[in-house]
Symmetry: C2
Amino acid sequence: MSDGDEVTTYSNLLSGVVKLTKILADGRQQIVGLQFAPDFIGRPFKRENQLDAEAATTVSVCSFPKSMMDRLIVSSPPLEHRLHQQALKELDEARSWMLTLGQKTAAEKVASFLYYVACHVDPERSHLRGPVEFELPLTRAEIGDFLGLTIETVSRQFTKLRKSGAIEIVHNRSIKLLSLDQIRRHAKLDHESWHF
Amino acid sequence: MSDGDEVTTYSNLLSGVVKLTKILADGRQQIVGLQFAPDFIGRPFKRENQLDAEAATTVSVCSFPKSMMDRLIVSSPPLEHRLHQQALKELDEARSWMLTLGQKTAAEKVASFLYYVACHVDPERSHLRGPVEFELPLTRAEIGDFLGLTIETVSRQFTKLRKSGAIEIVHNRSIKLLSLDQIRRHAKLDHESWHF
DNA sequence: CCGCTGCCTTGATCCAAGTCAAGGCGTAGC
DNA sequence: GCTACGCCTTGACTTGGATCAAGGCAGCGG
């Protein structure tokens, strides 16, 4: 339910999407991660690290005070194990995005983003071959901040994907991927390389 | 001592620098992390994840079979805690680099890289004000792969930093930072935002 | 000593993505 | 209904970094 401040508690994300952002002194912003339910939000053992968490959609969360959780973690190996697992998952994701940010073209970035979202909004669907329709959790400007592109470039790439027949833009935020294979090809994701 | 293959063991890095890379089908490559002694190398609980580890310099490591470590981790909460801490540290770093890759200019990227290396090759020096001299663990081409730039752009930015008086290029790989403050300013790192 | 070979630098040109500018479309408020 | 505001698209043009093309320089082997 909150919306846009430094993370000083731990939270369980029950529904919705939260974006993690980093920002430069001059205002340039990078989204460094998206959290989907039922992710855990918060940085154990440390005051949150120059990073803001902001609701991207309507969200519901269950929060705990930091001090309490930090004590709980120490006394509960299974809890630490669960958090460790999530940290590793987020690390894998962050590194996948580094490849995308550093090496891919605008077209490949946008296709990668669509595929990523499609896999997350509904994990079941991800291996289907057929069309997948969903709501984007981000505006064009936010997608730009995620991919290191401007809003105009993002918009142009959407248009290009639409004209190429890979996607249908049902209505601004509502996208239908007509062929996951084709998206994957646009994104330069060969079968196995994406693992969400 | 090894040099360039998929990680199937766990290793303790005793000396030297190891680069973690991701690669696209068409050969584009991204360095997603550098490991300095005494880091731990390996992805717990999972076959290493589309990621290669390669020695960047002469290294010495101490390796263990994966199966053994995975059992050890489960039975030793303190070990898991240590690995968890390192995963979180690497996650913080990966996200800092996402900001760099997505938002910074070539000049800012190169300055950020120099500052990053300076902080790691000799952690003591990192808060000194005066000049710092060290050997780059990477070639220009590798720096390019780290920063999402070409070798030529990296080289030109080095030249620009040299002419601006921020660095001295003692000899290709051997760099002297004449003013950490100036480098930090070039890198758009305001005092606290880098935390290695 | 000479001639490779591997890196690195520099210059000239090109192009993908950024910037600037103008609208379009949907919806909320009056 | 009309207006205003937020978000998205499209077009014209500019530009930072990529690409293409020469060299330079050190270290090594013969």
